[in-house]
Symmetry: C3
Subunit: 208 residues, 3 copies
Amino acid sequence: MQSIIPIPELIFMLDMMAAVAFAVSGALVASRKGLDVVGFMWLAFITGVGGGTLRDLILGVPVFWIVDTAHIYACFATAVVMFFIAPMVESRKRLVLWYDAIGLAFVTVVGTVKGLEAGTGPLIAVVMGVMTATVGGIIRDVVSGEPSVIMKREIYVTAAVAGGAAFVVVSSFQFPNTIAAISGFVTTFLVRGCTIIYNWSLPSHGKR
Amino acid sequence: MQSIIPIPELIFMLDMMAAVAFAVSGALVASRKGLDVVGFMWLAFITGVGGGTLRDLILGVPVFWIVDTAHIYACFATAVVMFFIAPMVESRKRLVLWYDAIGLAFVTVVGTVKGLEAGTGPLIAVVMGVMTATVGGIIRDVVSGEPSVIMKREIYVTAAVAGGAAFVVVSSFQFPNTIAAISGFVTTFLVRGCTIIYNWSLPSHGKR
Amino acid sequence: MQSIIPIPELIFMLDMMAAVAFAVSGALVASRKGLDVVGFMWLAFITGVGGGTLRDLILGVPVFWIVDTAHIYACFATAVVMFFIAPMVESRKRLVLWYDAIGLAFVTVVGTVKGLEAGTGPLIAVVMGVMTATVGGIIRDVVSGEPSVIMKREIYVTAAVAGGAAFVVVSSFQFPNTIAAISGFVTTFLVRGCTIIYNWSLPSHGKR
């Protein structure tokens, strides 16, 4: 994986985007539950930084929002704004899905990049991307007592797998990191987005 | 934050108090679920040390109950005592709330102290206090299948925010740590206690 | 604990066995929920490595599946095989229980060994064994929205306590690690197995 040039700025920006997108999805759940502004901030924060926190713990690197507090402010600001505009927004359940999809795409890419950065091979990099991509949403769903999006038949984890794989493949062809990151983002978002719109699913034996 | 003099003894004691208070709340849930004595010990233990464990992992310092086993014994002893006296106690649901409030107050203070100790700024210190304060209770509620106290409209997270802020403000005025710790504890406990008694809540848009 | 000779191979093998057994139990839940093959892999993976991951984080050692990717492949291969054979299997609920029991026995032993290896005393070693033994199953149950096996009156945590204690006692008599490991495994599996068959439980006050 020599083709990967360390780009701390890329990671910082992606972590930020992922945190904000997941923070929005967390805030929208807080809104449906009728929480107060502190509840919004809290749920936005743990949804926004949960995945990246686990990623950093497992990789054994300093947790990103301890290193740079910008992510905390970003989650809190997102939550406060959402507290005031959320009531105007119709059909929040669907909006949660879309912001979750954006968060999923960002966090898949940044998880993969940071895995490669930490010197792991492509397999672990993709696994890190996928695992940490799903954790923010799982925490949000479990804490708020909703059935986890991951236990549904629709394509969710698969989107992250596709995006992580796209990143690894593109970057292994010596393309610059930005191209690889965009490929990973677009792949994840497209697969997940089509699932939301067209109800895509992979074959399974279940009838549920 | 030069005014913060490292007081490992203060941290040890607060960690101990927090563990015992949360252990009681965990044991009371175990009692309502009709678990055996090992179930009591187990639920008391993960509730008692869960928050502090996450705090230490995120701060990158050795986990406190690995360093000093006194906390494990304290949780276990609490659980065994509770196993025998819990059936005599009426209205356990309310008692869980009060012990949870005590645990919340202790763990908010110790999370904030340890955050400052680890060299973080006041914002992260308060966030650490709040986040780790809520984790013990979340684990207890999620594992036992109860709706999380945090998803209710009543003031919970806000109490920890107030207590952590009180600690940081008082200690920034060069008061000794003990004064700051007491201020943080009293603030958290008062806000949470009034919420339990008077059903305080912040304004929200929800109707739930 | 000088009698404990470091046996990285023993730990590797046990971690592998535990991961596969828990992966099977995770895949069986995925099957009952009617997930696709990626859902199988994902649930098998987090169930299979969840407990060991927390153990390594708390002990402050590198996470085992980052160090050696064999565990990831093992979980994925298990999941894919299960995806094709699960529909043929009757009474999956009972099978989940038995594979969970095998995983429980392996992970109790390996948690205890790794605790001792990391230089902790016998108490923490047993606690590590028990705590990490229960985490894989808790994650599986919480994420899939099933009531946690740990909140039932039947003996579960107790089996891990007995197995961990058996390991520590046998190894303290200077027996070789393999003997201690087998003692721990057999004790855990016997106690848990008898519970599944004969519905063993410890006395409790509950009536639930």
